[in-house]
């Protein structure tokens, strides 16, 4: 499709495209992966600190501590998103800040803040989950299919 598009352009534009491709700063894959690794690892590291605090002071077990940790991280994300810091981290880290739940929180909170001018019901309420929606929808659907298969296998398959 890209080639087809190119042929339809006037020659000057084609020259420009070549020129632009040469000048474009190359974002190397390796560098990006290192950045994503460091930032993503750091977020999980903070999560581990929060988990340890919860286990130590509030008697959560290793299995139940995930929930309060996630909620706390999303709270921190709200502050970082509100003050515009999370966007800058995201530009630097790529997937490193998008893959942890903080990225999910950021997607929800940023769209909530962005659409505030359109009112709280039609703006905030209906746009909040625009970016995070696919994650919830397909997460739930996939979980449904898998849990269904597993239940059928365990109850009738004798697994």
């Amino acid at each position: 499709m890209a080639d087809k598009k190119k042929k339809n352009l006037p020659p000057v534009a084609q020259e420009y495209q070549v020129f632009q491709q040469q000048r474009e700063t190359k974002r190397t894959l390796f560098k990006n992966c290192i950045k994503a690794f460091l930032v993503g690892g750091f977020i999980c590291f903070i999560g581990q600190i929060i988990s340890t605090l919860y286990m130590y002071f509030f008697n959560f077990t290793e299995m139940t501590v995930g929930n309060p940790t996630v909620a706390t991280l999303i709270f921190i994300t709200m502050l970082l998103t509100g003050f515009g810091v999370y966007d800058r981290i995201g530009q630097f880290a790529g997937a490193g800040s998008a893959v942890p739940v903080t990225g999910f929180g950021n997607a929800v909170i940023a769209s909530a803040i962005e659409h505030r001018t359109e009112g709280f019901i039609l703006g905030v309420g209906s746009n909040m989950l625009k970016l995070a929606g696919p994650v919830i929808v397909y997460g739930v659907f996939a979980a449904f299919v898998i849990a269904l298969i597993k239940t059928i296998l365990t109850s009738w398959g004798g697994l």
Binding site: T69, F75, G94, G105, I109, A112, L148, K150
Partner: protein, 116 residues
């Protein structure tokens, strides 16, 4: 030691996401959706729980844990109530992530003004 493995495992999951961004040219929404589904599949196979034992927050903080806990909640209810439990139990464990995102989203919209 748990802190070290949390860092490494969390970092590796983010690198997988980065590779999906850069090599397969997927949008963030596609990448996150695939990661959530793979988390659900891994839990279905029973491999996610050992990872949480091993890496702690390194496995619970990335979005893959979302799929894991959805399947987990559904399975826990299904054991008690049979096939209906698959639907009723789904959000039992995951609720914290979604409700926190929604609650803090509304609070954030009240507190902060959009920029630019």
């Amino acid at each position: 030691m748990m802190f070290f493995w949390a860092f490494v495992v969390g970092g590796i999951i983010c690198v997988i996401g980065q590779i999906m961004f850069d090599v397969f040219k997927l949008t963030p929404a596609h990448t996150l959706t695939i990661l959530v589904i793979s988390g659900a599949v891994l839990d279905g196979l029973g491999w996610y729980e050992p990872l949480i034992d091993f890496a702690g927050a390194g496995a619970t903080v990335p979005i893959t844990s979302f799929g894991n806990s959805l399947v987990h909640g559904a399975m826990a209810e299904a054991e008690k109530h049979g096939i209906v439990g698959v639907i009723t139990g789904m959000f039992e464990i995951t609720s914290a992530g979604i409700s926190a995102a929604i609650i803090f989203g509304v609070i954030g919209a009240i507190l902060f003004k959009p920029k630019g």
